[in-house]
Subunit: 302 residues, 2 copies
């Protein structure tokens, strides 16, 4: 007996700190579930139970294929899906089958990308890029994927030619939550003008970043700077320094920012202020598009 | 009856995370004690008990003066010793009496320094600078005080003319202990060549810092870079970026680095490699010299 609500397949984005799964009918999600069973808190034997905790309500009698991207394919993941080396087409990556106990599941994990020089790696963003290129065939330009580890990828003729990772999101979190600056950032709100000014400061003179960071604390101590201003200033200083380093990527290019509302907004603001032609794409939509493409390729080849 | 081992006075350096006290005979320490009762873990009422836990063995019948510098004078400290504004002579600061319950103690706290534009503050380092200038009268140049929050101070005619704070030490600790880089820094050792190369990288192109940080992780994943190399590289990248921003301070100046063996060494190496004339002074010796000077001034005025 077939469970009439069973999905055609399951899409999974497995990050370092979060696990997200979608029940899929063709290319469309019909249900979503998530947990904080990220890769960082699991050992190898923990991946299948963590996925089952989310997707068991979706399973019927017939086996269902789950297509995974992200950290589940790392060396410490469910199964290692070795990095593909750039330049390479992210839409042509071959998923690696993962060992599964439960007969109701078939699991495949997409590999990430690596770059030998300068050394760099990504896992998960390649699937968002594949999804973007599936929806925008023949698109050439630069894709920016803001996050804990923001990626910039140069895309041409369907290939990721090169890419570069920045620790900007992680620096913002560490400085805002664990450094002396946390005392000055404790509060809500945002200050657009302070953000724009800070981006300009470090984009023009990136060497000043290390000095400007402590000034956030000092200006609070001496002038009582509001937390909204301090937070926008910290974000702007870090993103301005990133834009200064990523200038070879975005200068004279068309840019697509793939993110969610929170992560993409400051990048869109900062790039627009530089007069860069920039468009936005939703990260969840892109990862589902990329996983759908990989699932369709797998079905076609079997 | 006088306790024959009682000190003439007590010197105290009160930091954010540590408390250190010395029993003094004139300008010379005869005993030392320390604890992790830094300012960050104390409320206002906690300062006197924290000091007594260290110095009670030194107390006799007659009241003893304790001269304090550092965070005990902050707004959240034992008593607020308002910042003196630069330009000012750090050897001429007036200590503020703190309220004390125990009749065996008299407590004075030295103020820190502030700079209005660009906004900056210091508490504790001004006393090390005063000590250095007591031992090196008529010294003009730039003093670098490495630490969690590294300070650069321009000194002329006995005055601190201007200064600038860098978060370098705190960034190194956060990135090394709490970021994704921690996986690549877990181990012992040091790599002089990697340090020197990293200093050169970010001193020449400071905008690359944000990109180079993640490369530490990627080169470990792809090439198995040793932890000693990764740690030296992180330190070098951060110090190189600091030197790029502090260039107006050290270029064409004579530099004194006041620190301990661990904190001063990378700065001495990096500055020497730039051909800068640099000398080293011991931080403990300087803070005791500065506190001794302040204590002698207090005695002379009473």
């Amino acid at each position: 007996m077939t469970n009439s609500t069973a999905p055609d397949w399951i899409a999974v984005d497995w990050g370092t700190t979060h696990l997200r799964a979608w029940a899929m009918r063709g290319p469309d999600p019909t249900a979503q579930a998530s947990s904080d069973d990220g890769m960082a808190r699991l050992d190898r034997a923990g991946f299948e139970p963590a996925l089952l905790r989310l997707v068991t309500p979706w399973l019927g009698d017939a086996p269902v294929t789950a297509m995974l991207c992200g950290m589940a394919g790392s060396r410490q993941g469910w199964v290692e899906a070795p990095y593909a080396q750039v330049p390479t087409k992210p839409a042509d990556l071959t998923p690696v089958p993962a060992p599964v106990q439960d007969p109701r599941l078939r699991v495949f994990v997409l590999p990430g990308l690596k770059q030998v020089s300068p050394p760099d790696v990504m896992r998960g963003e390649e699937t968002q890029i594949a999804g973007f290129l599936t929806q925008n065939p023949n698109w050439d330009g630069v894709i920016c994927l803001p996050g804990t580890h923001t990626k910039w990828a140069h895309v041409s003729a369907g290939e990721v030619v090169s890419f570069q990772t920045f620790l900007t999101g992680e620096l913002f979190a560490l400085l805002g939550q664990a450094s002396v600056l946390r005392h000055s950032l404790d509060g809500d709100g945002w200050d657009d003008a302070a953000f724009a000014e800070a981006v300009g400061d470090t984009l023009t003179r990136p060497e000043r970043l290390a000095a400007l960071l402590f000034a956030i604390r000092a200006s609070d101590l001496l002038q009582g700077t509001p937390a909204a201003t301090a937070r926008a200033r910290l974000s702007g200083q870090l993103i301005g320094a990133e834009l200064a380093a990523a200038r070879p990527y975005w200068l004279g290019q068309q840019i697509a920012v793939i993110g969610n509302a929170t992560t993409a907004r400051p990048y869109l603001d900062a790039l627009s202020a530089q007069g860069v032609p920039v468009s936005a794409a939703d990260a969840d939509t892109m990862v589902l598009s990329g996983l759908s493409h990989a699932h369709a390729e797998l079905e076609a080849s079997s």
